[in-house]
């Protein structure tokens, strides 16, 4: 007996996650497409993924390290510390902003074929992840340059990468769904991302935040993730602020649940609104 599909108003898919699994090939193909066209018809191609974070690191090192003379974590070289912050931040912010526009950019697909819509923003985050892997190369070079050897903590880095992935997916799916209905978010988001770069501890260590404000500061989920990255990459030089990390994990989980739940609520009407 073939499976029976019932289409009616307001019906929630019973096999939502199973359906998502069945469409994993489309997910792979869409992610591959986004990757394949990303640097088409650019002169230096994939080098862009290296140049942008590298220049950001230079500027932040000069402004925060040299001019403002903010202290690094322990004895770690300032550029290295900055770069350990730029890595997760760039991953988070480019994942968030690209995924937020993903549904609108794929409007022709949404209005012509059925597939679980969640695939689209998720596939875009994969692209951000590949950029992340490429710019990881700079980190390796920097470490070699400063003769900085990582220790066992480096092995825990994947945990924080996964955390950063979910931290960007959660808000991204919510905003991309809202974006379909209210295009205002297209203009709000770049502003939020730019703002976030300065309120998150990217150019400086979160140690410069006074102790009594530390927990409040950790309400930004990226604080815990960036601290985690530094803890893994800089060996013993950076300390992990555990309440902040717990807060970060909690908020990420909440946004992930909230984002997906809102997304699913609006999903069925995307084709009519886009």
């Amino acid at each position: 007996m073939q499976d029976l599909i019932v289409l009616e108003a307001g019906r929630r898919e019973r096999h939502y996650w199973l359906d998502l699994w069945r469409y994993r090939e489309l997910f792979r193909v869409l992610a591959w497409r986004d990757l394949a066209v990303r640097y088409k018809q650019t002169a230096i191609g994939v080098l862009w993924a290296l140049i942008r974070p590298f220049l950001t690191m230079l500027v932040f090192t000069i402004i925060f390290g040299q001019l403002a003379r903010l202290p690094p974590d322990g004895t770690a070289p300032y550029p290295l510390m900055v770069f350990a912050g730029i890595l997760p931040w760039t991953f988070f912010s480019s994942g968030l902003s690209e995924a937020s526009n993903s549904l609108i950019n794929n409007a022709n697909l949404i209005s012509k074929v059925y597939f679980p819509r969640l695939i689209v923003p998720m596939a875009t985050v994969v692209v951000a992840f590949v950029d992340f892997l490429i710019s990881f190369l700079i980190l390796v070079l920097l470490m070699a340059w400063y003769n900085f050897l990582p220790d066992w903590r480096m092995l825990l880095l994947p945990v924080f990468i996964v955390l950063a992935f979910f931290a960007s997916v959660g808000p991204a799916v919510w905003i991309t769904a809202l974006n379909v209905k209210y295009r205002d978010f297209r203009y709000v988001l770049p502003f939020i991302v730019q703002f976030g770069l300065y309120v998150s501890p990217v150019g400086f260590s979160s140690n410069v935040v006074p102790e009594q404000w530390r927990l409040l500061y950790s309400l930004n989920p990226m604080v815990g993730i960036i601290d985690g990255f530094r803890w893994c990459i800089l060996g013993g030089q950076s300390e992990l602020y555990l309440p902040g990390l717990a807060m970060s994990i909690g908020l990420t989980a909440f946004f992930l649940w909230f984002g997906i739940q809102r997304f699913r609520k609006m999903e069925n009407s995307f084709a009519d609104l886009i």
Binding site: L7, E8, Q41, L109, A271
Partner: protein
């Protein structure tokens, strides 16, 4: 249990449309500001309550489908006909799960593949090869399946030489052929096709129809087929459903229904009341087209003269008025336009409100014998729409007394008068190549079209 693969019960679909109140009463700065403020307040409330934002001053409900019920049996090939806006595409969108119904429900048994557009998701930067895999995955094919059929797809499309070229460098014909070739190799249990054959050249269309026919006959697949091409419907589908204003008008064996559909659609009245057609409620009402009279009579004949009179009523004095009629194919492609201001650029100002008329004479109707939709419209100035009736009436153009056979067979398209000068003096002594071979440029190979997907 019956072996219906698709069961549709009381299906309805509502859309919200926004309108701008046109024309009068909104011309002062104060009006503009109050209207803007009111709109802003309404949108803010909409966002706050999570409702859809609709542009415009007034929101109207529009039922694209209303209480549609029917069932499709296993292996049936069903055609769907109806005017533009009758709800055909909405129905297919619901069946392919792109959009959900507002009321009613659908039971679907089996894997559905829908082809609502040729080349959905094609990316111009990617090569033909890459796009086959991309498009295949989007249409629901497994990668393994695509690998297996890859060569077949490429040769069906006839693009072997260009398979590693980005599709943005393809001609539009190659693009369409490649796109359809992928779709034609789908193997779903239920195939839904919407008007995709309107593109592509006649020969390729035939090839595609043959492929669809083969798929449905040999493999016993269920096919739902929407087209304005009544010939294709007749040859493919034993049964049709005729949709009109979102409801089923008739359903059953194809031949008699298509005959009645044409009889219904093709106007035989020499005077057509244009006031009977509904306009949007807030449409600019300063001018209304009222009647169209075929002074030279119906049916229209190819190559012969046509005279018609359009009466219209104005409510207030109007400046720079022009009126036009257009002939379109049933799928909405405009072929021919006649406008009052074409020849002399003259657009009269109409100072006295009341009923006026304008006559048009077409010396020799150039469109080949076929069925057409007639559009009527009126403008003020270059762009302000006063009245517009798209696809208002269906018309049949029949061969005239002097229509040659190749026009009737649609081999020659539109044939217009032109001036030719023969030069039959021989120039065999010339050392240069004959003049004719220099001036003949091959236009067919230089054409390139890029596409947005």
């Amino acid at each position: 249990m019956s072996d219906a693969v698709i069961t549709i019960e009381n299906l309805s679909k509502r859309y919200l449309l926004g309108h701008r109140s046109g024309g009068r009463g909104h011309n002062t700065l104060r009006d503009v500001i109050t209207r803007g403020a009111r709109n802003f307040a309404r949108k803010a409330v909409d966002v706050f309550q999570g409702r859809q934002v609709v542009q415009g001053d007034e929101v109207e409900e529009f039922w694209a489908l209303k209480n549609v019920s029917f069932a499709i049996q296993q292996g049936e090939v069903l055609g769907i006909i109806g005017r533009n806006g009758a709800g055909k595409s909405t129905l297919l969108k619901i069946l392919s799960r792109v959009t959900e119904p507002t009321e009613g429900r659908v039971l679907v048994r089996g894997r559905v593949s829908s082809l609502l557009e040729v080349g959905t998701g094609f990316h111009p930067e990617l090569t033909g090869r890459e796009n086959i895999f991309l498009n295949g995955a989007i249409l629901g094919m497994r990668q393994r399946e695509i690998h297996k059929k890859f060569d077949e797809i490429v040769s069906f499309a006839g693009v072997e030489r260009f398979i590693d070229t980005p599709v943005k460098r393809y001609s539009s014909g190659m693009y369409v052929r490649l796109a359809f070739a992928v779709a034609a190799h789908l193997e779903p249990e239920i195939l839904i096709i919407d008007e995709v054959l309107a593109v592509g050249d006649a020969e390729f269309q035939k090839k595609c129809l043959g492929k669809i026919d083969e798929v449905s006959r040999r493999d016993g697949r269920t096919v739902l087929f929407v087209s304005h091409n009544l010939g294709a419907i007749t040859s493919l589908c034993p049964n049709v459903i005729w949709l009109e204003h979102g409801s089923i008008c008739e359903q059953g064996p194809t031949r008699p229904i298509i005959d009645r559909y044409l009889a219904h659609k093709i106007s035989k009245d020499t005077i057509v009341l244009l006031t009977q057609f509904s306009r949007p409620p807030d449409w600019d009402d300063r001018l209304r087209l009222e009647t169209l009279e075929w002074i030279s009579g119906l049916p229209l004949r190819h190559g012969e003269s046509v005279r018609a009179r359009i009466r219209f009523r104005t409510r207030v004095p109007l400046a720079q008025v022009s009126i036009g009629i257009g002939f379109s194919t049933f799928d909405g492609r405009r072929l021919l336009t006649y406008e009052t201001d074409f020849q002399d650029g003259l657009r009269p100002s109409i100072n006295r409100p009341g009923v006026h008329s304008v006559d048009v004479t077409i010396d020799s109707l150039p469109l080949p014998p076929d069925l057409y939709d007639l559009d009527l419209g009126s403008k003020s100035g270059d762009s302000h729409q006063l009245d517009y009736l798209p696809s208002a009436i269906g018309l049949e153009i029949i061969p005239g007394l002097n229509t040659p056979g190749y026009i009737v067979n649609k081999d020659a398209g539109v044939r217009l008068a032109s001036e030719w000068k023969w030069d039959l003096e021989c120039e065999t002594t010339s050392t240069f190549a004959p003049l004719s071979s220099l001036t003949v440029a091959d236009c067919s190979t230089g054409r390139r079209a890029s596409r947005d997907t």
